[in-house]
């Protein structure tokens, strides 16, 4: 009953309700404007909501997050530019539909299905998170250390074309996180004698620099591109078409929530797997896949939105982010004095139910804003970059300054922005840097606590890992994920695929 009260708090307080609505509305538009991303928006926004109470700040950020994930599909459908990696699969059939003049219908069905997927994801979050959290209370420092390593290994899936560059970026993020006074011994680390560095580098400055400034500078390369005008007709889909695709959406939502909850896999992989699933189970689509099949639109859209609820499970219960966006959300929670992890459910259960309530509300607003205001939407999406980029630059500066009212943070933001710009240009992914910054404290503290708890004996710590079933499972997961990211594994997999004997077994399995 108490949980229900916390759950309904954002629904019953008009100010909080309006903030969720404003956040979701902005998220939908931000996610849909080419050049803006939900990662950029949330990282810049943290600076502005820093002085707020935690509840209003969470309402706004949850809204932007939920709206932004959905908004990314708009540009995928209209312009064939996925607003986020999770919308890559959406473009496969969404854009052909828009080319046929069915953009309104595509947006309508994707909105309704995103809503269905989002609700299922949140329901699973509400059911599973308390259980996971209870279980995680039995974790020892060594288990948290292994979890942090598991989180860091996500660089494998965030590295893009080069794993080694991903490893460099992850290590760089971890190192940035260690700058300042050591929290356990108050010893100076990488301060170079500057007292300004005692408190460390503001990770908000790093985030805004890497995702706001560097992205805006990169967009300057395409400043001359003119906005594409789109004609959108009817958006609200018919009940018959919703009913037709509902069974498929329930299946792909399950895929989305499971994949979203696994560390290292997020909405992008969930959407691609759901697309593949839809392709395999739809025997006779009205239009072939890749040419505008609605099943090809429904599957990824439900999966990437249900993955949001799934991703919140490890994020809130273990403090492990699944991707750059969830890493930034963890950063936002830290800033507001919350400590995502198993103790969150014990110390502040109201916070968990509040976030869940805000997520459901944001999902409803996503449906409302997704199906209305399409005329204003097309106007905003067509906003020229010559105006948009100076505004992003200005907001980046103001956001970095606002956290501590410190011009030093602005200089850090500029430094990381320029570094991030060159890193992007030369094929480095910036997601692992943020992942490293966020996980640095978890890894550093628990690594040292794990050794100290064994009287400073690393051998004792490893013995502890090997004799505890939980630690052993986590260690196996770490080894498995590490091996699966190595080129050796990929070579073995491709050889196994091309092996005729293996192919025969696979085809027999399919038939059976």
């Amino acid at each position: 009953m108490e949980a229900l009260g916390y759950f309904l708090t954002p629904w019953l307080d008009l100010k909080l309700l309006l903030l969720v609505a404003a956040g979701t509305c902005s998220g939908v538009y931000i996610g849909a404007i080419p050049g803006l991303s939900v990662t950029m928006a949330v990282s810049i926004l943290i600076g502005f909501t820093f002085t707020w109470d935690v509840y209003p700040a969470l309402c706004l950020m949850v809204g932007i997050f939920m709206g932004g994930v959905y908004g990314g599909s708009r540009t995928a459908i209209l312009l064939n530019i996925p607003g986020a990696p999770s919308a890559i699969a959406t473009a496969l059939d969404g854009y052909p539909l828009a080319q046929k003049g069915l953009a309104g219908e595509a947006i309508g069905i994707s909105t309704v299905m995103s809503f269905v997927g989002g609700l299922i994801g949140i329901a699973v979050l509400a059911l599973a998170a308390p259980m996971v959290s209870d279980f995680a209370l039995t974790f020892q420092p060594r288990d948290f250390m292994l979890l942090a390593i598991l989180g860091i290994l996500l660089v494998g899936s965030l590295s893009g074309e080069s794993l080694i560059k991903g490893i460099f970026c992850g290590a760089m993020g971890l190192l940035i996180g260690t700058v300042g006074m050591d929290p356990l011994t108050a010893e100076e680390r990488f301060t170079f004698g500057f007292t300004q560095l005692w408190g460390g580098i503001s990770f908000i400055a790093v985030m805004i620099g890497m995702f706001g400034l560097s992205e805006a500078l990169s967009q300057l390369h395409h400043i001359d591109k003119t906005a594409i005008k789109q004609e959108i007709s009817r958006v609200v889909p018919s009940w018959a078409s919703v009913r037709k695709y509902l069974p498929l959406s329930l299946q792909t939502s399950s895929i989305g929530v499971i994949i979203g909850a696994l560390p290292g896999t997020g909405g992008d992989i969930a959407a691609l797997m759901a697309y593949d699933h839809a392709k395999r189970i739809t025997k006779n689509p009205e239009v072939p896949f890749g040419e505008g099949a609605k099943e090809g639109l429904v599957a990824p859209e439900t999966a990437n939105n249900s993955a949001v609820g799934g991703a919140f499970i490890p994020m809130l219960t273990l403090g492990i982010p699944g991707d750059a966006v969830t890493a930034i959300m963890i950063g936002a929670l830290y800033i507001h004095g919350l400590n995502p992890g198993p103790m969150l459910m014990v110390d502040q259960p109201q916070m968990f139910w509040f976030i869940t309530g805000a997520l459901v509300l944001a999902n409803i607003f996503m449906l409302i804003f997704g199906l209305t205001g399409i005329r204003i939407f097309t106007k905003i999406v067509e906003m020229p970059r010559t105006i948009l980029i100076p505004l992003i630059l200005l907001l980046s500066i103001v956001g970095a300054y606002a956290v501590n009212n410190s011009i030093t943070d602005v200089y850090w933001m500029l430094g990381f922005g320029v570094l991030g710009y060159f890193m992007k240009i030369y094929g480095y992914q910036l997601g692992p840097v943020i992942l490293g910054v966020i996980l640095s404290r978890l890894l550093d503290e628990n690594w040292r606590r794990a050794i100290i708890s064994e009287q400073g004996s690393p051998a004792g710590m490893f013995r502890g890992i090997l004799t505890s079933p939980l630690s052993l499972v986590l260690l196996s997961a770490v080894i498995l994920i590490f091996v699966s990211n190595t080129p050796l594994w990929k070579r073995w997999r491709s050889r196994a695929k091309s092996d005729p004997a293996t192919q025969e077994v696979t085809s027999m399995d399919d038939k059976g």
């Binding site: 600076g47 502005f48 909501t49 002085t51 074309e161 080069s162 080694i164 560059k165 490893i167 460099f168 290590a171 760089m172 971890l174 190192l175 260690t178 050591d182 356990l184 011994t185 010893e187 100076e188 680390r189 990488f190 170079f192 400034l213 500078l217 300057l220 390369h221 400043i223 970059r385 010559t386 105006i387 980029i389 100076p390 505004l391 630059l393 200005l394 907001l395 500066i397 103001v398 300054y401 606002a402 009212n405 011009i407 602005v410 500029l414 320029v418 710009y421 060159f422 240009i425 030369y426 094929g427 490293g436 640095s440 890894l443 550093d444 690594w447 040292r448 050794i451 100290i452 400073g456």
Partner: protein
């Protein structure tokens, strides 16, 4: 833009820079507590700095061995004049933010950069900047209550005067 199999203009120098910085950071990490203990404050910094040295070294080596250059030109494709100018503008904005204050610096920055990026249209740029700045000020300064440097503008006095008018002089 980036092709893994080909070397872009300036890429080798950038990777070499990252390698050198990684070496300096490894030296600094060693200086924290040396090889004192695995639970010492310098243990993780040394481990990650070492990872940075190894990975950046491998990237540099791989890049050095790549024989083909792509068609990129540094001042055209990597760091075109538009990016340099905007970098300088944003740096100038940061430098003058505190002494001049948020409102005048933002107005100059916004209108200046829009005029530059659109190659003209002073009236349009000034109008757009004024409207955007008013919106930003209302949303962030008044609603979000973000404190921004007032600089030469007596912002507190102006806000107090406005609130006196709307508050009926109370």
């Amino acid at each position: 833009m980036h092709d893994k199999r080909k070397r872009s203009s300036g890429e080798l120098a950038f990777n070499a820079g990252l390698f050198i910085v990684s070496l300096i950071l490894l030296w600094q990490a060693y200086a924290i507590s040396g090889f004192e203990a695995l639970s010492s404050p310098g243990a993780l910094p040394m481990a990650v700095a070492f990872t940075m040295v190894i990975s950046s070294g491998l990237i540099l080596l791989d890049n050095f061995r790549t024989p083909n250059r792509d068609s990129t030109r540094f001042m055209l494709d990597i760091l075109p004049p538009v990016v340099i100018v905007m970098m300088l503008m944003i740096a100038g904005y940061a430098v003058f933010l505190v002494p001049l204050g948020f409102l005048p610096t933002s107005m100059i920055f916004l209108s200046g950069s829009i005029i530059y990026l659109r190659s003209g249209g002073i009236g349009f740029a000034l109008t757009v900047s004024l409207v955007s700045l008013t919106c930003i000020y209302i949303i962030f300064r008044l609603i979000f209550t973000v404190l921004m440097p007032p600089g030469i503008v007596p912002e507190a006095e102006i806000l107090a005067a406005i609130s006196r008018i709307f508050g009926g002089g109370s």
